[in-house]
């Protein structure tokens, strides 16, 4: 037990050191790499949030691109139009997106699988349309230009300084989600994933919990949106589309469903490849597609299956995958 604990502590230490050192390691590689690093961590937040919903609770969402945009706009409008501080706008963008997520989650109470995918996909179409429609508020395609936040008089202008802000948000998110998953609510989420009927019969309020997890996932995604907006300093209706929603799904599948390290791994790999592929010109999407295909074929359980398990003894949720959106097909056709 103690050796196992030591191992976990050691690993945590290594990960923490790597996370702290990353911006300085990447810095000499040029500003594109620091940018990709910062964006990767922003997408880590999205991936962890989406994995909470899809991996741990068994609900598919193609609406996360929209949640990101809502977060972007809320935060930008609050800071630009109302002159509120970023430090208030950041949590508020989570609150607003979370409330919206709860509303979007309501139909999810009755839907699952592809049906839920289409219902949420509609949201990814609607938000850019609405942003264009209300151009008085959003400035249409010309966009909004939110500023980098400041700590007192110190503006987080450099990629490195901003990295630590994003990282802090990610760490807080992971701590919250880890504790949530251990709590009764978290167990309810997973029970719903494994079997809605069984969960209901053991007294879990299925509808409420499904909407709740939607709300929490959306809220965290809203934070990522706010961070994105103030990082890029530009917000427009073009920012995130349904394709991005699919890309987020690809992140958690490639990384590993129902796994927080998996979400992070997937987000970093997919985002890095997606951003770096641009120098391949016409071949860029072939490269991204091929990486997705190969990753899924070579690591059907996600990249996270590569790591050495800290304790093989306990089969934790990470190895099981999610039951309602996913299905174990029996045995192979040809022996």
């Amino acid at each position: 037990m103690t050796s196992e604990r030591n191992l976990r502590m050691a690993r945590l230490l290594v990960v923490a050191l790597a996370a702290l050192a990353a911006p300085f390691v990447v810095m000499p590689l040029g500003s594109q790499m620091s940018y990709i690093l910062d964006m990767s961590v922003i997408f880590c937040i999205v991936a962890v949030a989406l994995n909470l919903l899809t991996g741990f609770s068994g609900q598919v969402s193609l609406g996360h691109a929209a949640f990101l945009m809502v977060g972007e706009y809320v935060s930008s409008l609050l800071t630009l139009n109302l002159n509120w501080s970023f430090w208030i706008a950041l949590p508020l963008s989570a609150v607003v997106t979370g409330i919206l997520g709860f509303l979007i989650g309501l139909p999810a109470v009755r839907l699952s699988g592809n049906f839920l995918a289409v219902a949420t996909m509609g949201f990814s179409f609607a938000v850019p349309e609405l942003a264009l429609k209300w151009s008085g508020l959003t400035n249409g395609s010309s966009g909004l230009m939110p500023l980098r936040p400041a700590l007192g008089s110190y503006v987080l202008g450099s990629d490195q300084a901003y990295y630590f802000l994003i990282l802090a948000c990610l760490v807080v998110q992971i701590i919250v989600i880890k504790n949530l998953l251990k709590s009764r609510t978290g167990r309810a989420f997973q029970a719903i994933r494994d079997s809605e009927i069984a969960a209901q019969s053991s007294g879990v309020r299925v509808g409420y919990n499904k909407a709740l997890v939607f709300s929490i996932s959306a809220g965290f995604t809203g934070i990522a949106g706010s961070l994105y907006a103030h990082y890029i300093n530009f917000v427009s209706p073009n920012d995130f589309t349904v394709q991005d929603s699919f890309l987020f799904l690809a992140m958690i599948v490639v990384g590993g469903l129902a796994s927080i390290p998996g979400s992070i791994l997937g987000a970093i790999v997919i985002n890095t490849i997606n951003q770096l592929s641009s120098s391949f010109g016409q071949y860029s999407i072939i490269l991204v597609g091929a990486v997705m295909v190969l990753a899924v074929l070579l690591f059907p359980k996600g990249l996270v299956s590569l790591r050495v398990p800290p304790h093989a003894r306990k089969p934790r949720h990470s190895s099981r995958g999610s039951a309602r959106v996913t299905r174990e097909v029996e045995s192979p056709d040809v022996p």
């Binding site: 990447v26 349309e129 264009l132 890095t272 951003q275 592929s277 641009s278 016409q282 999407i285």
Partner: protein
């Protein structure tokens, strides 16, 4: 890398030499470090991608062997070559607009084959952003890291809005932005130059001409639901109001639409005498076909974005008789012969379209600015020279190119054309119509 950029900002002789000498080693060092720092796939991609495998010319930068007494350089320029960069949708939903980057590439190939600019070869780095702002930002940063002298013909409003600040902060000129959105040229940003006519200019020119020559009394506008369509729409409404002509229908479409019969029906309901179409070719063609099928034949005015011979193929009969406006010469004219030859040479499988020609022209203007710099290839001098281009007709445009410190529009004249169904050609219908945007009430 940080060091390099700082040096590049205030490029003086010694410091540039320092960069030339040490830049290569620094890059090597960072490469080495990077291998140890990052692992796996990402790294492999970086090393290939970072080496700009798809850059167009293969000439490698040589260290400055001769100490240049009189020449001075900013980042990206040297005695032997000038590095330029572009970012555009080479793949993704509007990949057809990747033709602009291809046109630029074709032109620089032509320049390099005919001796370069004062014996300096042009190296163009082409990056794909899929029309996504976040990728455009990544590309801007990559271009800065690659040490470009200037960005040329970067496409899109949102993509430019997102990525330009980074380039501008790094003191890198953004030239010939490939969008007609005035948001990029009004107010003037010293380091950023437009070229294409703005949608505002076009809206005014086309509307005024329609009213003066064709005595249009009612107007319907079919427009793309974004900055492009809305800017055009606003200009049309403004200009029409001057002559007390009514805009009786405004029909917006979204880029992802598949059904245009509803829009045609909407337009038919309002029954305007003239229909202005501010959209990209495929939706515009489908809309025109839809109106034709409903038996509704208004006088059509098509934006220059779709004023392309390809419309004869896409829309067929529905395009006949439509008016459009242009700033480029006809594709089959003598003036574009070099373009056609070199584009074919560079891209044997791609037809030379107006889009490609506009990319070619984008490149011409930048090359002209560079040539005017002589041996003083510094950012400051480049901007100074660009701002001195006046009524220049050296590019393969039909309209002259003009920049002043207060005017970065580039082109402020267009001419009208009409689609002739019999010959399947666009036929010029007017001379150049100037519309002075600078200082006009439009701004």
């Amino acid at each position: 890398m940080q060091n390099i950029r700082v040096l590049a900002y205030n490029a003086t002789n010694e410091r540039v030499e320092f960069k030339e000498k040490w830049g290569g080693q620094l890059v090597k060092k960072t490469l080495k470090r990077s291998v140890t720092a990052l692992t796996g796939l990402a790294m492999a991609v970086w090393s290939v991608g970072g080496s700009a495998a798809f850059a167009t010319t293969t000439t490698k930068p040589h260290a400055a062997h001769h100490s240049m007494k009189r020449a001075s350089y900013s980042q990206g320029a040297s005695q032997t070559q000038i590095v330029l960069g572009t970012s555009g949708p080479l793949t993704g939903p509007i990949a057809a607009y990747g033709a602009i980057a291809e046109g630029e590439n074709a032109y620089f190939n032509y320049v390099n084959a005919t001796g370069g600019i004062h014996h300096r070869k042009i190296k163009l780095i082409m990056l794909d952003d899929q029309y996504q702002p976040d990728k455009a930002v990544a590309n801007a940063r990559a271009l800065v890291s690659d040490g470009i002298f200037a960005a040329v013909g970067t496409l899109g409003t949102a993509t430019n809005q997102a990525s330009d600040p980074f380039l501008l902060r790094a003191n890198i000129p953004v030239t010939s932005v490939a969008t007609g959105s005035s948001a990029l040229t009004v107010p003037v940003v010293p380091l950023r130059f437009g070229l294409e006519p703005t949608y505002t200019l076009e809206g005014h020119v086309m509307t005024r001409w329609a009213i003066m020559h064709n005595h249009i009394k009612t107007i319907g506008v079919f427009y793309q639901n974004d900055d492009f369509g809305k800017e055009g729409l606003n200009a049309i409404i403004q200009e029409a109001a001057r002559y007390h002509v009514k805009v009786v229908a405004k029909v917006a479409y979204n880029a992802t639409d598949t059904d245009f019969s509803t829009y045609a029906l909407n337009m038919k309901r309002a029954h305007p005498q003239a229909v202005f179409e501010i959209g990209v070719p495929e939706p515009t063609a489908m809309f025109e076909i839809g109106m034709m099928q409903l038996g509704f034949h208004p006088q059509q005015y098509v934006t220059y974005v779709s004023g392309d011979p390809i419309m004869f193929k896409l829309a067929g009969k529905a395009f006949n008789g439509a008016y459009t406006d242009g700033w480029l010469p006809l594709l089959n004219s003598q003036k574009t012969a070099t373009f056609r030859a070199w584009f074919k040479k560079t891209y044997p499988n791609t037809p030379p379209t107006l889009l490609a020609l506009s990319g070619w022209v984008d490149a011409q203007v930048v090359a002209h600015g560079l040539a005017m710099c002589g041996n003083t290839l510094t950012t400051t001098n480049f901007i100074k020279q660009m701002n001195s281009i006046k009524n220049w007709m050296g590019a393969d445009t039909s309209s002259p190119v003009t920049y002043t410190p207060a005017n970065h529009f580039g082109i402020d004249a267009m001419y009208m054309l009409q689609a002739n169904g019999k010959t399947q050609q666009l036929v010029p219908k007017s001379g150049l119509i100037f519309y002075h945007q600078v200082g006009s009430s439009l701004n």
